[in-house]
């Protein structure tokens, strides 16, 4: 059966005379007859379910009208007005819309406050007697999670969750329908769907995607097409007949609840009802059956684990155990190393990231919450919450705008009692670790038994077949000769008897042994063949990367070896590079290393040149200065670019420092003294810093005064240091006049230094009128001019 929802409330209220800017929900009390009449018109048009006029009846939205203390009254009045219109078979859905604010980390509203706001409204709707809760038009999955949790806490009545997607089939905060459905079904949504933002044509592919991944019935409430603004009125163009035609397509795509959103009227609903009532039940797609694949998600990505999916790599590096720097980073609250590890592991090929905040002495719940929030903004890989601390687990699960994997749930009673309800509440999957109160089972058969106990308890707690990842448990091969064999046998038993996806922490096997990488990679290959789906490993290990790539090919996850070939076939570029001939002369090699900006390579070359008896002057003049001149010319002719010039300058500096280190008495001759400053009122200093770097590494003595420097200070410094050149920089039109003022002050003080000016907005003409001696368009130009000034 297909159920028919009603259509737009706002459009109908405007037609009934609701003044612009007036609180629509206030009419539940002030004009209940109008509200009832609108509901009645939808029921008369065929709606099975009507939605209360409570879309904005939450505390935050009502604050705009000073009505924040009327949440209960306005929601109750709305349900009464709806009930007054109902026939014997009409159902009432309590409409719950967004708060209008974004939840941390996307916004500044806390998850707990959002939860409280929804709890308050949904309680009022529930107690007033709605038949179901409809959470709708949500663009942030975290807001939907807060609302769904609140609804589940308030009532056992069905909860419908409808997100709003854009033309790219994602919410504007990045969630696609597959990911949304995966998260919401696991959290206990009864119906999942989409409404608003788009017309039925654009929502059709979203319904199709939903129907492929969720066992829940699907709801859809499209706008009456894409709106236009005509005479300051928002007009939705789609006529009822066309809406009905689309409703049929939506039903055939899998929608079981169909209604309308913005711009739809009772006529649209009538057309929808007539279109779908003729559809034969046998033509409708059947609901998906549960399978044993486990899906995990971030806010914007879903990853599947299971025998029919490619191997999933769980990065193990965000774990402070035995890693002092990472532990200190977490304890200090910086989380810089945590973020670096996250990004680096993703780049190295990790699909999921294990997150462990087990630093002794810190508040692990706070650390986990922060880490999960920050990582959810940084990477789209789903996260694995790795903790033994119940509070840390709940903090992490609550903060995560996705479906996490809990690492881990053992068969120990206290772990089962505390972790399983949290997994159910927050819709997380669990990693089943076969450890019981009796300790670690030695044999594969015993591990299978313990894992079955965990799964049994999990089913009792309400978890479902798609909620498990089984750990085969690896002991250390150095301590237990059968460790590898039993783990492999466990994987095979899991596959044979249970069929759920499997995992294990690979590197345990090699603990205490040399060349751990060889053992880990070999064991990984064996385990993948035995049925391992998601190894937990160090993704940076190159040998492991080769093994995984080769295994994907051999196990049929890399058709025709395409990925393998892309990664391992020699490229023409590397071949070309191999052909490069190395200059024989060491001076020539240094020059070339500077030009190419090879900072690290230049140091041993200079050391070697000195050993070969070349004087520092020869190295400076024939290699370093020649190289910088070459770079400058290449820049001037557009063959070399600023970052390359800077790399050359850094290499030049490395060369100078090496000479100085090897020959401490080596005297360097300064080409001249330059005072540099960004003028008063101007806080931009990138360009000035670049000029300073280039001048310094071309042999000038640079006194960099910094940014926002007053004319007095510049004059004083120029006189004190007997400057040969004063370089002034201004970035904005508002600070440009300070160039004139500073030059005038220098001249008034009798300073003989030549002035060079530059900066984004400066021009040669402006420099002339400001009485500057020269204008430099860029850093290389500034060096050329400075050299010219000094040679004169």
């Amino acid at each position: 059966m297909i159920y028919i929802f009603d259509g737009a409330m706002g459009t109908m209220l405007q037609n009934a005379g609701l003044p612009p800017g007036y609180c629509p929900e206030l009419w539940n009390q002030e004009q209940p007859d109008i509200i009832t009449a609108i509901h009645k018109s939808y029921i008369d048009s065929g709606a099975d379910i009507i939605e209360t006029n409570t879309f904005g009846a939450n505390r935050i939205k009502l604050t705009h009208y000073g009505l924040q203390d009327k949440v209960r009254q306005l929601n109750t009045a709305a349900v009464e007005a709806a009930r007054a219109a109902c026939g014997p078979n009409t159902k009432i859905a309590g409409s719950v819309g967004p708060t209008g604010k974004l939840i941390v980390p996307l916004g500044d509203l806390t998850f707990d406050y959002a939860y409280d706001v929804f709890f308050e409204q949904i309680s009022a709707l529930d107690q007033a007697g709605v038949d179901m809760i409809l959470i709708e038009t949500i663009i942030d999955i975290q807001e939907m999670r807060a609302a769904l949790l609140a609804a589940k806490a308030v009532t056992k009545k069905p909860v419908i969750c409808q997100m709003s997607f854009g033309g790219d089939e994602r919410t504007v905060t990045g969630t696609d329908p597959v990911t949304a459905a995966t998260i919401l079904e696991a959290m206990g949504a009864d119906v999942i769907g989409a409404n608003c933002s788009l017309g039925p044509a654009q929502l059709l592919p979203i319904v199709q995607k939903l129907s492929q991944v969720t066992n829940c019935p699907i709801s859809v409430q499209a706008n009456a097409g894409m709106p236009s603004l005509i005479n300051k009125q928002t007009i939705f163009p789609m006529q009822p007949k066309e809406m009905g035609e689309w409703a049929e397509k939506l039903a055939l795509a899998g929608a079981r609840y169909i209604g309308g959103c913005c711009g739809t009227t009772p006529e649209h609903i009538k057309s929808i009802q007539q279109a779908v009532k003729s559809i034969s039940i046998s033509n409708l797609p059947t609901i998906q059956q549960a399978n044993k694949t486990t899906a995990l998600t971030s806010r914007s990505k879903t990853i599947y684990l299971g025998a029919n999916h490619p191997t999933v790599i769980i990065g193990e590096r965000i774990n402070p155990t035995g890693r002092k720097q990472l532990a200190a980073d977490i304890a200090s609250g910086q989380f810089i190393s945590v973020k670096k590890e996250a990004l680096a592991q993703i780049r190295a090929g990790a699909h999921l990231l294990d997150v462990n905040m087990g630093v002794p002495g810190i508040n692990q719940a706070e650390a986990m919450q922060y880490a999960i929030q920050e990582l959810s903004m940084l990477v789209d890989a789903p996260l694995v919450i790795d903790t033994t601390d119940t509070m840390a687990l709940e903090a992490g699960l609550k903060a995560y705008p996705g479906r996490a994997l809990i690492n881990s749930v053992s068969a120990e009673p206290e772990r089962l009692e505390s972790f399983l309800p949290l997994a159910k509440k927050y819709g997380a999957a669990i990693l089943c670790l076969p450890i019981s109160s009796d300790g670690v089972p030695k044999t594969a058969q015993d591990r299978l038994l313990v894992t079955k106990q965990i799964i049994h308890k999990a089913f009792e707690a309400g978890l479902k077949p798609g909620d498990f990842v089984l750990d085969a448990l690896i002991l250390t091969a150095a301590a237990d000769a059968s460790a590898g064999k039993e783990a492999l046998a466990t994987l095979k038993l899991y596959r044979e008897h249970l069929g759920y996806p499997t995992t294990m922490g690979l590197s345990n096997i090699s603990f205490g042994l040399p060349r751990r990488d060889a053992i880990n990679a070999t064991f990984c290959a064996m385990a993948l063949d035995a049925g391992l789906d998601a190894p937990i490993l160090n993704p940076y290990d190159p040998l492991m990367q080769h093994t995984l790539a080769a295994s994907a090919l051999l196990l049929g996850h890399d058709p025709r070896g395409r990925s393998y070939s892309i990664n391992y076939a020699p490229t023409s570029q590397t071949e070309e590079r191999a052909d490069h001939s190395i200059p024989k002369n060491i001076i020539e090699q240094i020059r070339q290393a500077i030009v190419s900006g090879e900072k690290e390579a230049v140091i041993p070359l200079v050391e070697q040149a000195l050993k070969e008896g070349y004087s520092s002057i020869t190295i400076s003049e024939q290699a370093l200065t020649t190289a910088m001149n070459e770079v400058g010319l290449a820049f001037g002719s557009g063959q070399c670019f600023l970052p390359q010039v800077l790399l050359a300058a850094e290499s030049m500096r490395a060369a100078f420092l090496t000479i100085k280190k090897e020959l401490p008495n080596h005297a360097t001759i300064s080409l001249g003294t330059v005072i540099l400053a960004t003028v008063k009122g101007d806080i931009h200093d990138l360009g000035k810093n670049i000029v300073a770097a280039l001048l310094e590494n071309n042999g000038f003595t640079v006194i960099d005064l910094g940014k926002d420097i007053s004319p007095d200070k510049i004059v004083q410094a120029a006189l004190d240091h007997k400057a040969d050149i004063v370089g002034l920089c201004a970035l904005m039109t508002t600070t440009m006049p300070q160039i004139d003022i500073t030059i005038a002050a220098l001249k008034a003080a009798g300073c003989q230094a030549r002035t060079i000016v530059g900066g984004a907005v400066l021009t040669k003409e402006y420099a002339n009128q400001a009485n500057a001696d020269s204008y430099a368009a860029n850093g290389v130009d500034a060096v050329t001019i400075a050299k010219k000034v000094m040679s004169n």
Binding site: S228, E650, M732
Partner: protein, 223 residues
């Protein structure tokens, strides 16, 4: 309006190259570009805030509680068909610019320059994401947003910055202006986005961004 913290999961490498003057460069160490990207992602704290106002195109006035009259330059022409305007402020915070300075102090000029360019890329991405949210909300009411137009471009005097910040409620995300009207943090953007009843020509809008700018020596200028 709510505060929105955009997500930056990927920095566009082409934009990073453009802002650091490497568009035409074929050989440059990828590791340095990657490092700049990673560090920018890690230290950026993107935040956006905006407010929507009615707009009177005849008098070129933003109808805020204290109306703001716009000069008869490109900005007024740009907004000629707008019925409303969004005044927006976006930042990635101060940490990145501090790191850029640290790199220069440590004589790692190249990373300093690249990180600065990555910061520019990041704040532009943050602004793009905020604009996407605005666009979806505007589209629901039948409006189409024009491309964002910032003070300092197209002869729109930068001295309007304090008023624009005020209209966007930028103090709520800690953006301020110096006495010379520069934004603090430096990696911040303010802009006005016109909302029209008609669909704008997006391609034309894209092309016109560099055309409106007088900084002919800019590293990032598009040909």
């Amino acid at each position: 309006m709510p505060i929105y913290n955009p997500i930056i999961k990927n920095l566009d490498m082409n934009e990073l190259k453009r802002y650091s003057g490497l568009t035409k460069c074929t050989e440059f160490p990828q590791s340095l570009l990657d490092q700049a990207c990673i560090e920018a992602q890690i230290v950026s704290k993107p935040k956006a805030i905006w407010e929507i106002y009615d707009y009177d195109p005849i008098s070129s006035t933003i109808l805020s509680p204290e109306p703001l009259h716009l000069p008869p330059t490109v900005i007024s022409k740009h907004l000629a068909n707008s019925q409303k305007v969004v005044v927006i402020a976006v930042t990635i915070g101060t940490k990145l610019e501090e790191m850029v300075s640290e790199y220069f102090t440590k004589n790692e000029y190249t990373l300093g320059l690249l990180l600065d360019a990555a910061g520019t890329t990041a704040v532009e991405i943050a602004a793009d994401q905020a604009c996407e949210l605005i666009k979806q909300q505007a589209n629901k009411e039948g409006y189409s947003p024009l491309f964002r137009f910032s003070p300092g471009y197209g002869q729109w005097d930068i001295t309007v910055q304090p008023q624009i910040l005020s209209l966007a409620h930028a103090e709520d995300i800690n953006i301020t202006a110096t006495s010379s009207c520069m934004l603090l943090p430096r990696k911040s953007i303010t802009a006005v986005i016109g909302l029209t009843a008609t669909v704008c020509n997006a391609e034309h809008d894209q092309d016109s961004k560099c055309d409106q700018c007088q900084q002919v020596n800019c590293l990032a200028r598009k040909d």
